[in-house]
């Protein structure tokens, strides 16, 4: 994390206070807000004054946002989160880190939602390149990105969506031996793998690292989302490493995006400090029947 000096911070706080405006919400409440373009200006000035340390712009933006939130001022980009996450929780999100395995169907949507929510650091691994069969559901699969690394497309997208996210993409298939290192700095692991072959290893290593794992799987119109705490069994431990129902039923976009949204909501609940809602449970849905049920594993 970029270290900006206390002297600069005192000046920055002064500037933020001077530039803060009041947003009046529909219900009459008022919220101090730092407009988007002032965040950009302050970050630019910050980056200029620290050129010798070569802080990337995104880190400067993140720093301005964190200082504003600590002052009780909401950066405008997070204004519509104000009721879902308190300013204290929003600050926790900006200071949090997540490890995401897989940048395909689940991973693309999960990453998008974490980035927009302002999760501070995301490390993500996927050695895949986009192929035409990804186009039915994978957010970052486009005509242009076909043939390119999913990790590269994700990085390009994050620069557009929220440069304040310290994003570390890795275009590799994560080996079990490398997982502990991969988890460093993260409070949470997201299992967005496709297929069942590698999931048990991921649960094992996350357990070693003491990290909760938010996991999901989809087949046809149905899917599940679960949170596995260290030392506990997850769905993958029951499913085995063989073929899954998705091999015959496929992975259509609505089920994938539904599972990914639930994963993101659960991850944000953990990262903002509220704790998991699905620990030891398995939320299952069937979009053909429009049924949702939370089961105890």
């Amino acid at each position: 994390m970029a270290a900006f000096s206390a002297v600069n911070d005192a000046h920055l706080e002064e500037r933020i206070r001077a530039l803060t405006q009041t947003a009046r919400l529909a219900d009459g409440r008022e919220l101090p807000v730092l407009p988007f373009f002032f965040v950009q200006d302050l970050a630019r000035a910050l980056a200029r004054s620290r050129t010798r340390e070569k802080h990337p712009r995104g880190q400067a933006v993140a720093h301005v946002e964190r200082v504003a939130l600590a002052l009780g001022v909401c950066p405008e980009r997070y204004l519509r989160n104000h009721d879902a996450y308190s300013l204290v929780e929003q600050l926790r999100l900006l200071e949090s880190g997540a490890a995401l395995v897989g940048l395909g169907g689940l991973g693309g949507y999960v990453l998008e939602l974490l980035a927009r929510a302002g999760v501070g650091r995301v490390r993500a691994a996927d050695g895949d390149e986009f192929v035409p069969t990804n186009l039915n559901r994978q957010l970052y699969a486009t005509r242009r990105s076909l043939g390119g690394y999913k990790a590269a497309a994700a990085a390009a997208r994050l620069r557009l969506v929220n440069p304040a996210v310290d994003f570390e993409p890795m275009a590799v298939y994560l080996e079990e031996a490398d997982m502990l290192k991969f988890f460093q700095g993260a409070q949470l692991c997201l299992d967005a793998l496709g297929g069942l072959a590698d999931r048990a290893a991921l649960l094992r290593q996350a357990g070693q690292a003491g990290l909760p794992v938010v996991t999901a799987g989809v087949a046809g119109a149905s899917g599940f989302v679960a949170t596995v705490l260290p030392g506990e069994k997850g769905p993958a431990d029951y499913f085995g490493a063989g073929a899954g129902a998705e091999d015959s039923q496929g992975t259509p976009a609505p089920a994938v995006a539904t599972a990914a949204s639930l994963m993101a909501a659960e991850a944000l609940s953990v990262l903002c400090g509220r704790g998991p809602r699905l620990a030891g449970k398995m939320l299952v849905f069937d979009l053909n029947q429009m049924s949702f049920e939370t089961l105890t594993l």
Binding site: F239, A245, S248, E293, T296
Partner: protein, 75 residues
């Protein structure tokens, strides 16, 4: 007595038309029902009775809700 059956993903092809009120004999177990539906053992990975993970040998009572899962891992 009757139970409610919910067969997920690929197991939905074994779901009977009367899944909402499926006739079961007193003390019939989940395994009995699974056999009656013709679900291959290796396709069934998780069983839930009344929303809680349960073994195949669980005896059923009137009104029980049974959920049956294959392996699901798409992403």
């Amino acid at each position: 007595m009757h139970i409610t059956l919910k067969c997920f993903a690929t197991l939905s092809r074994f779901s009977p038309p009367d899944a909402e009120a499926f006739p079961a004999a007193l003390n019939e177990t989940v395994a009995d029902i699974v056999a009656r539906l013709g679900i291959p053992e290796d396709e069934l990975k998780l069983v839930f009775v009344n929303g809680v993970h349960a073994p195949l040998a669980t005896p059923l009572a009137d009104g029980d809700r049974v959920g049956l899962f294959p392996a699901v891992g798409g992403g």
